[in-house]
């Protein structure tokens, strides 16, 4: 599907340079500027404009890790929507429940990885249960599905408040993920000529790496496996898929399990990087909605691009214009809706 999703840019322009080549040049130029910003030692005037190189590069790195988290949550959301035309508004609750389960398992057993595994597995099972007992009954009825999922999210939020109360939990990361990494990026040069290198929390690098690995894994699953083929076929034409003898319900259940499991996984990973508290469910639901609207409903590549844009916008906004930073996210959404209503990677239907 990601190949089909490419924006149509192959139309030839008159001057011998195709518009695709022109875009390539622009992209190269942008990459060169970013590389220079990251690796060069900044002149004083640039430091004056952008606070400091440390602040700028950290904001970029934080934007990337936040994008990783958003991607993990939104990829499940977008898959479920793409396949079932169902906006699961309880998706944020799955994130928060995963985080709480991860906290309980980690603090009881002392093994963080066990907590992560539990977050994924339990939520995957809950996802299947939701699909079988709720969504299968409401198939094809978009409005009712939406209302029911809103209901589920409200009930779930209050039940979680009853069990875990309103406190802020921090999932303890293991020793080997603690500490900071010194990156080969010089942020400043001291007066005695010694270079100051940028340090960055190791855990956040791991979050980013995990998101990339899972993103690639999802892409491979969708494009190289039989199940992926069925899912893609289901996204394009559900009726035809079921007519050709595939058990559509089984495919739905798999997608729901993966989507809900990823939300739970993101809950544990995100709860270790940031913290777990009531209200996170709505925050991540909103974030995935924006990511999916910007990236295009039903596209994994779109979710990655959307997450990247929103994550970077949030962090850069926070550093450079904190009061109006929130607006930036929605400006991106509004511009996308105005220019390309189906989303960057979405298909017009």
């Amino acid at each position: 599907m990601s190949i089909l999703d490419q924006p149509s840019s192959s139309s030839l322009s008159g001057g011998g340079v195709t518009s695709r080549q022109a875009w390539g040049l622009v992209g190269l130029l942008a990459a060169a500027i970013v590389a220079w910003l990251v690796f060069a030692i900044w002149p004083a005037w640039l430091n004056a404009i952008l606070i400091s190189k440390k602040a700028f590069v950290s904001a970029i790195l934080n934007g990337l890790t936040l994008a990783g988290l958003y991607f993990l949550v939104a990829s499940g959301f977008t898959l479920i929507f793409g396949l079932m035309r169902n906006i699961n508004l309880a998706h944020g609750s799955l994130y928060l429940l995963g985080a709480y389960i991860g906290y309980e398992v980690t603090s009881r057993t002392g093994y963080w990885l066990l907590g992560v595994a539990a977050g994924f597995t339990v939520l995957a099972i809950i996802g299947v249960i939701m699909q079988v007992f709720v969504f299968r009954r409401l198939e094809g009825d978009d409005l009712r599905q939406t209302l029911v999922t809103i209901g589920i999210s409200i009930v779930a939020a209050d039940m979680m408040l009853a069990v875990w109360a309103g406190g802020t939990y921090q999932i303890a990361t293991p020793e080997w993920l603690d500490g900071a990494l010194t990156l080969p990026i010089i942020t400043a040069v001291r007066s005695n000529g010694a270079s100051v290198f940028l340090t960055y929390p190791l855990y956040r690098v791991v979050v980013l790496a995990a998101a990339i690995v899972i993103g690639v894994g999802l892409w491979l699953m969708l494009n190289k496996t039989r199940v992926g083929m069925m899912i893609r076929a289901g996204v394009d034409d559900r009726a035809m898929l079921s007519a050709s003898g595939v058990n559509v319900h089984a495919v739905f259940a798999i997608v729901f399990a993966v989507g809900a499991g990823l939300a739970g996984f993101a809950g544990v990973v995100g709860g270790s990087a940031l913290s777990v508290a009531p209200g996170e469910d709505v925050r991540y639901l909103l974030a995935s909605l924006v990511v999916v609207i910007v990236g295009g409903m039903g596209s994994i590549t779109g979710a990655a691009i959307g997450a990247l844009l929103i994550g970077l916008a949030e962090q850069i906004g926070l550093v450079y214009f904190p009061t109006y930073g929130v607006v930036l996210t929605f400006v991106i959404m509004v511009v996308t809706l105005a220019v390309r209503p189906q989303g960057i990677m979405g298909k017009a239907r």
Partner: protein, 413 residues
């Protein structure tokens, strides 16, 4: 279709109708407004414990009448606070309302109070300066002090005793932290200190690492005025980022609601100086008696937070005044407000009285975070600053010239 819509409407009205306020005639209804949802949930719950401690002291009665508490919940946003206050006043019919908890909520409820002159509003713990200083409401009383008063003594202490000359601030972007930063800087800048960088972050922000990276590296300390989950997130990430500059705490940053959090943030908190209306290691018998009474409430912290304290003091004042007038609010609360304005009483933290704007004059405690014998983090009492008034001891006309608090005022880069 028409009938279905009507049916839905009828059902909806039934659901949202007043929660059947069938109070007996000899009961006094008091509205209790606090944040029972959103980022400040833990704070609101402790505020309720404080209010309930005051009610338990009189065995749930005042002037021979039973007290009936009607709770209203907000999520720390001003509109939710006004909505909850309206529900309490207009649907449940309370004539006395204690709350709200947070700064912007206080400003909004004060404005609402002006439209309900026969209802008496007593603050919870909201501590924005202009709730009472500029354009106050005749029927809004604050027996807890404001955020600038809470900082009394801290700026001087940081400059003289700790030797910090340059301090960066990180605080949430609303009226209460503005007031706290104002209170700190008023003294710190006067003593000769400099604040080269101020970071204002949205309330409920989770990821502070970019903010931490943007703090200049050459500051002697960081003044942090964040509350609840925001404080926990900032402190944890500050520890993860290997932050080395010492911290100075806003009143609610080193409060029990944060000190009792689980995780690694304990290491960066030890030794943090702060100031506020309470100190955990206060030796005064009145305070110890209050702590014991507070601990009888379900889910209590090892030591009452300033929210428990604030709600306790305001609820106590309400009950004392109601007792004086025999619990009679049938005259639109006129006698009650008169009694409240004249009220002066001894709280667990010393004498409290009101100024002409109905804002409290009370003792403020300078503290430092230490580890107690049982492993809990506590605010150790360093010094008591007696009877701080709202203008911080500066003559009023001079104080008003400093201007209203906001992001850029005061400034001493």
């Amino acid at each position: 279709m028409h009938r279905r819509t009507l049916l839905a409407l009828a059902l909806f009205t039934g659901l949202t109708a007043p929660s059947m306020a069938l109070a007996a005639d000899d009961a006094i209804k008091i509205g209790l407004l606090a944040t029972f949802e959103g980022p400040f949930t833990v704070l609101g719950e402790d505020g309720e414990r404080g209010a309930m401690t005051a009610i338990a002291e009189t065995n749930g009665t005042v002037a021979g009448k039973k007290i009936e508490i009607v709770k209203g919940s907000s999520d720390a946003s001003p509109d939710s606070a006004v909505r909850a206050a309206r529900k309490l006043v207009e649907q449940d019919g309370v004539k006395v309302l204690v709350g709200p908890l947070s700064g912007d909520e206080g400003l909004a409820v004060k404005d609402y109070a002006k439209t309900k002159p026969d209802v008496t509003f007593i603050n919870g713990t909201s501590a924005a300066q202009d709730t009472t200083l500029r354009n106050p409401a005749e029927n809004f009383f604050r027996f807890s002090t404001d955020g600038a008063q809470w900082m009394a003594g801290l700026g001087t202490y940081a400059f003289k005793d700790k030797g910090y000359k340059k301090v960066a601030t990180v605080a949430e972007d609303y009226s209460f932290p503005y007031t706290q930063v104002f209170g700190f800087m008023a003294e710190f800048c006067k003593a000769g200190g400099h604040v080269p960088s101020k970071s204002w972050v949205p309330i409920g922000n989770k990821d502070f690492s970019s903010v931490i990276a943007a703090i200049p590296e050459d500051v002697d300390a960081i003044y942090v005025a964040l509350g609840g989950a925001d404080a926990v997130n900032f402190l944890t990430q500050y520890q993860q980022a290997g932050g080395s500059a010492p911290l100075i705490g806003g009143s609610i940053t080193v409060d029990q609601t944060v000190l009792t959090s689980k995780g690694k943030l304990r290491d960066v908190l030890k030794g943090t100086p702060s100031a506020g209306p309470t100190a955990d290691t206060n030796d005064a018998p009145a305070w110890k008696a209050f702590v014991d009474a507070y601990k009888k409430q379900p889910g209590a912290f090892p030591s009452p937070s300033l929210f428990a304290h604030g709600y306790y003091v305001n609820m106590k004042a309400t009950l004392l005044a109601l007792d004086q007038i025999g619990g009679d609010v049938s005259d639109g609360g006129k006698k009650l407000r008169e009694a409240l304005s004249k009220l002066s009483f001894d709280t667990p933290t010393g004498k409290v009285s009101l100024d002409k704007n109905r804002n409290a004059v009370a003792d403020i405690f300078l503290t430092e975070v230490t580890e107690g014998s049982d492993g809990n983090l506590l605010n150790k009492l360093v010094k008591v600053v007696p009877q701080v008034n709202q203008t911080l001891g500066i003559p009023e006309d001079e104080f008003m010239k400093l201007g209203a608090v906001n992001r850029d005022n005061p400034s001493c880069p």
